[in-house]
Symmetry: C2
Subunit: 232 residues, 2 copies
């Protein structure tokens, strides 16, 4: 913690006085009391961005799905399991604030499940002797980023996209569809769980590559890119 | 490690010269390159049993699904992701051995997925604009414990059952169905991720309760119970 504080002290205070809300990690959508659907996100990228935002002088709240990571120094963490819980906590954070304590920046890094199991069981599903499998019915989860971006006075919204193909095409399309000023693209199965990453920033002016580097270094570059776009 | 070795040195050598093969943790069944179905098993109970077996003088191989846990001191770990991979590694371990290096005891602690996704996608599934959800088709995974127990010369087989209801009824039924001499029952959503647990041992003579305690302590009691049944 001492080391973390020393490192933080030497980072430029690009976000001094700003309030930053982030999501990170996977979500877990229950199938029954013990099983569920999740994804390979480790939370490392989101936690790195949270740490970089704190280093840059921001007041940081991190809404996190289940991960094995330690909360970054100085960051306030709220733990959730499902996409719906993450949505509810984020909206509560954004709407409970008075004008003087409004969130300035929302960074949606979490790999949120698009679907939840509509017919989740309250008892553990049993294997049938005839080898038949359960039939799961899915319903769409709320789109947290799009919901925040559609608020009357939204914070500056930054989305993340993990794609396994056609990143440049899907990235710009996703930015436009979610109506956010900045979308960060990475190749999902190439980054999940790893310590380094490679990002592409999409904004109204096109896209910018952040070459492969450690996630903490990329997180600092991203915070600088956000601060520059905020005119800070 | 030094402390672990000292503690190990003071445990009774109930399994000296025995070879123990264990499975632990959850499995992860891919839906697409980033999503999958898993369960809430943390791997703690299986890792505790692996450690206790090593402390008791056994040579221990641990086949582990994805967990954030450190490999117990002295234990050989092989990491896998899916139930099919876990099955394949376990069978390879059991069949590649000569008579002189045969596995004496197999303890199946892992919370293995009963089903895998038959139509897993090689590309990330996209959300459809019309809100429709993917249709997943499931097929049953191999039953590792039952397969091992059905070998011509099986090791002493110990199964684990995580049930959310009617443990006494399901536990004995599961022991009979899988045809194993010892089955260990615990209440799944009451133990997953926790540091303590409460076990019920089912064997041909009925059932024995191991009252709530730390998982490491219960693991040592379980190893003693296995050794007693082996006449060691």
């Amino acid at each position: 913690q001492l080391l973390a504080e020393v490192i933080a002290a030497f980072q430029p205070k690009l976000l001094k006085g700003k309030r930053v809300l982030l999501t990170a990690g996977p979500t877990f959508e229950p199938i029954d009391p013990v099983r569920g659907i999740t994804n390979l996100s480790s939370g490392k990228m989101g936690y790195a961005v949270a740490r970089a935002a704190y280093e840059a002088g921001a007041e940081v709240t991190l809404v996190s799905g289940p991960t094995a990571l330690a909360t970054p120094y100085g960051v306030r963490r709220i733990s959730v399991q499902t996409a719906q819980q993450m949505h509810d906590i984020v909206m509560a954070q954004l709407t409970a604030q008075s004008a003087s304590s409004a969130t300035d920046i929302f960074v949606a890094v979490a790999a949120v499940a698009d679907w939840r199991v509509a017919n989740a069981s309250t008892q553990k599903l049993k294997k049938n002797a005839d080898g038949s499998a359960p039939e799961l019915v899915f319903e769409q989860n709320p789109d947290i980023l799009a919901t925040v971006a559609a608020l009357p006075k939204p914070p500056y919204c930054v989305g993340f996209a993990a794609e396994s193909e056609k990143l440049l095409q899907y990235g710009e399309a996703k930015r436009a569809r979610k109506n956010v000023p900045l979308l960060v693209g990475n190749i999902g199965h190439d980054t999940f769980g790893k310590d380094d990453n490679q990002l592409v920033l999409f904004d109204a002016n096109g896209h910018t590559d952040l070459p492969r580097a450690g996630k903490q270094q990329l997180a600092r570059q991203l915070i600088a890119a956000i601060a520059a776009r905020l005119g800070a």
